[in-house]
């Protein structure tokens, strides 16, 4: 142990601890910008965390400087404050003055730091960005390197959490910037559009593509019948956009807000999540019984789909042919619902609210037009919906609870847990078990597949099928671990669930910011509460709206209509 003082507080910590960590231990605040605790990421790049150490000639970066016995650290001296301000001024000199028109304004860490350290003027020459080019080639994300401060958080998350390793600093020195490999546009790269880089980026250098104007336009168009669906995770994170506690379950307020925005029908992606379980569960049984390709993997996470298309194209036959709940919903909205309501599908406009940036891309895939139209017209992230609700002047927190519209608004607890890692697996097993044995699982809670462990496994006795072995991974670096096993033939699982984002959709690329594991866990807990305390049914096949859908329209799982509307194929992309 090493003892030191920080601003006259004595602290004793393990050798090798940084000054910053020691300071946090005794609640001494030191501003940081490039460091990112969740990833243990301290590139020492920004110098905002400078402190004064007795007898050291220059100020030191506290996030990388190790403590020493008897060290005396001061974090709030005139010298430190001046240096911090100079450092931020320098950063701002190479940064556009765009705060008023920047989508990140209000949640930008650079903006907050500039305010905190008291920058009132930038006394150095500013970079001219007039000819600067923004990469808006992708349907999901927009990259603007002029706003990049080279903190390398995105590089770290893309490599370590997502195993994609697309991003890299290019060149060096003042002109260095972070780019995709070969400085390619995102649309020409192996980017999965997961948006985790946008989640960790402290500035507006990587953000979701803002599609709110398209939705406003549709809502104002009298010829359009605008329907909306919301992913399971939205109801446990939308409240955070309005200052509510993480883990607040706001289903009723969410519906009320959407009605007030002017949507003609408020439906639910959870409805089609139950449908996904019906189709995917039967697909799994078919593969097991008929000797199809195993292990089968889930297909609801579009970041995961793009990842496997690039990095394991040889394993595409393992992926379930089921479309994601979002796309099943879209295809049905313009067929089943159009028929039900007697509306010409060309006048139906489908909006999705998703915790995910890759969903924007998924909706734009050319094969997602099985209704004869683009199945899902616009995808908004939770953050964008938050923006619309604020623009409309709706006081979200005091909204009453309202309920979904029929016929695509009912759901079961099995659907709602789709939003957390392991949820699809749990939901599928509940229904598969019931279909095989004719009775519900003795305990519907499958604990081993819950929680934030990177890779989870479970084995279950399922009637005449015998032992069913399953695995769950979230974060694409964890998916790699499982796929490497599948590729070399050492995986003996039947079914694998993969979610591209850490924590599953509760940690998606479009979620409210900033995010921590603690918040992801609280959001997931709220979903499990919705499952076991709020919902009348907890197994997808019990959903009355789904029963009605099969009776009136689809006839049977994996039937002719299902194949036409609810199943899809994938593209070998490579890197």
């Amino acid at each position: 142990m090493v003892e030191l003082t920080i601003d006259k507080k004595t602290v004793s910590v393990k050798e090798g601890t940084t000054i910053l960590e020691a300071a946090r231990r005794v609640d001494v605040f030191i501003p940081t910008l490039c460091a990112y605790e969740e990833l243990n990421h301290t590139p020492g790049a920004c110098r905002v965390c400078l402190v004064e150490v007795d007898r050291a000639r220059s100020l030191v970066a506290s996030c990388v400087y190790p403590v020493a016995q008897g060290m005396r650290v001061r974090t709030n001296t005139q010298r430190v404050r001046r240096a911090r301000r100079a450092v931020v001024e320098f950063l701002l000199s190479d940064h556009p003055q765009d705060c008023n028109v920047c989508v990140k304004s209000g949640s930008c860490e650079l903006q907050a730091i500039a305010e905190l350290v008291g920058v009132r003027d930038v006394r150095v020459d500013r970079t001219d960005f007039s000819t600067h080019r923004i990469d808006d080639s992708s349907p999901a994300l927009v990259r603007d390197t002029s706003k990049c401060i080279n903190c390398l958080r995105c590089v770290a998350v893309c490599a370590e959490v997502q195993g994609v390793s697309l991003l890299t600093p290019e060149g060096r020195g003042f002109d260095s910037k972070v780019v995709p490999a070969m400085a390619a546009d995102l649309a020409d790269s192996a980017c999965t559009y997961c948006g985790q880089c946008a989640v960790v980026c402290p500035t507006g250098a990587i953000v979701e593509r803002d599609d709110t104007e398209k939705v406003w336009a549709a809502l104002e168009d009298p010829k359009k019948h605008v329907v909306v669906q919301e992913a399971p995770a939205i109801r446990v994170q939308l409240g955070e956009e309005f200052g509510m506690e993480p883990g607040s379950l706001v289903t009723g307020k969410m519906i009320a807000a959407l009605r007030r925005l002017g949507f003609d029908r408020v439906f639910d992606t959870n409805f089609s999540a139950d449908l996904t379980i019906m189709e995917e569960g039967h697909e799994l049984l078919k593969r097991v019984k008929e000797g199809g390709v195993l292990p089968m993997t889930t297909s609801c996470s579009p970041g995961w789909i793009k990842f496997i298309e690039h990095f394991y194209p040889q394993l595409l036959p393992n992926v379930s042919t089921c479309k994601s709940p979002q796309q099943m919903f879209g295809a049905l909205a313009k067929t089943y619902y159009a028929e039900f309501a007697g509306i010409d599908p060309k006048d139906i406009f489908v909006v999705s609210i998703m915790p995910c940036t890759a969903k924007k891309y998924e909706a734009s895939r050319p094969e997602m037009r099985d209704s004869g139209y683009r199945d899902v017209d616009v995808v908004l992230t939770t953050r964008e919906l938050g923006r619309m609700i604020r623009q409309a002047g709706i006081d979200f927190v005091s909204l009453p609870d309202e309920t979904f519209d029929a016929p695509m608004g009912r759901y079961t607890g099995a659907a709602t847990i789709f939003g957390a890692t392991g949820g699809v697996m749990e939901a599928a097993l509940r229904t598969v078990y019931a279909v095989v044995t004719g009775e519900p699982m003795p305990d519907l809670n499958i604990q081993p597949v819950r929680g934030l462990e990177g890779v989870k496994e479970a084995t279950l006795e399922v009637g005449e099928l015998g032992e069913v072995k399953v695995a769950v991974a979230h974060g694409l670096a964890n998916a790699r671990k499982l796929m490497d096993q599948v590729a070399d033939g050492t995986a003996d699982y039947h079914f694998i669930e993969i979610m591209a984002c850490p924590g599953g959709c509760v940690g998606g690329g479009g979620q409210p910011l900033p995010v921590t594991d603690e918040k992801r866990a609280k959001r997931a807990e709220a979903l499990y509460r919705d499952d076991c305390e709020v919902q009348e049914f907890r197994q997808s096949h019990e959903n009355p709206a789904i029963k009605q859908l099969y009776e009136k329209f689809l006839k049977e799982p994996l039937g002719h209509k299902s194949h036409e509307l609810l199943h899809t194929h994938y593209t070998q992309r490579g890197v």
Binding site: S165, L166, L167, T168, G171, P180, A181, M182, V575
Partner: protein
């Protein structure tokens, strides 16, 4: 892509590709081998275009972004072909005052390239340098190992002709 296919889409010969693969093979699986591999390969091919970087990434099983990051970080790696004859114009203060800038403009025009590029026939590459320490001879232009002193715009073409006419060794 196989080597033959790759050889078809760019200018490297079968022999060069064989040497490239030899370098990759030699270092494969050894940590910290990216820079030496790239060095060896550039010694063979002269430059590291995208196709080669992809080949190295695949061969060493490292992300393409890492290869690209290293290639752009170190100035001795280049993604553009270097000319057979390397023209370097000194832009140190002495040369600058005596019209080196005009020489650069003139060369850009007559060769049809920018600084850092090389001509389509790969004969000449144009670079500028800070100071060659030959201020007494300003403005100075160095072609390969030959120093040309007090170079005037009008003399440039003639100097280059001396390299142009030289029989092609390859």
């Amino acid at each position: 892509m196989s080597n033959a296919e790759l050889a078809g889409v760019d200018e490297f010969s079968k022999e060069e590709w064989a040497l490239v693969d030899e370098a990759i093979e030699k270092y494969k699986g050894k940590p910290g081998s990216l820079i030496p591999v790239l060095e060896e390969i550039q010694a063979v091919t002269g430059y590291l275009p995208e196709s080669l970087q992809r080949h190295v990434a695949r061969g060493l099983d490292v992300p393409l972004s890492q290869v690209y990051g290293v290639v752009t970080f170190y100035s001795f790696f280049t993604m553009k072909p270097r000319g057979k004859h390397r023209i370097r114009i000194c832009l140190g203060t002495a040369c600058h005052v005596r019209g080196a800038g005009r020489n650069v403009d003139q060369l850009k025009k007559s060769l049809g390239i920018d600084v850092g590029e090389c001509t389509e026939d790969r004969k000449f590459g144009l670079e500028v340098v800070r100071c060659l320490g030959a201020c007494g001879l300003a403005p100075v232009m160095v072609v390969d190992a030959d120093t040309h002193k007090q170079v005037k715009e009008a003399k440039l073409d003639k100097i280059l002709d001396g390299y142009r006419d030289e029989p092609d060794a390859s």
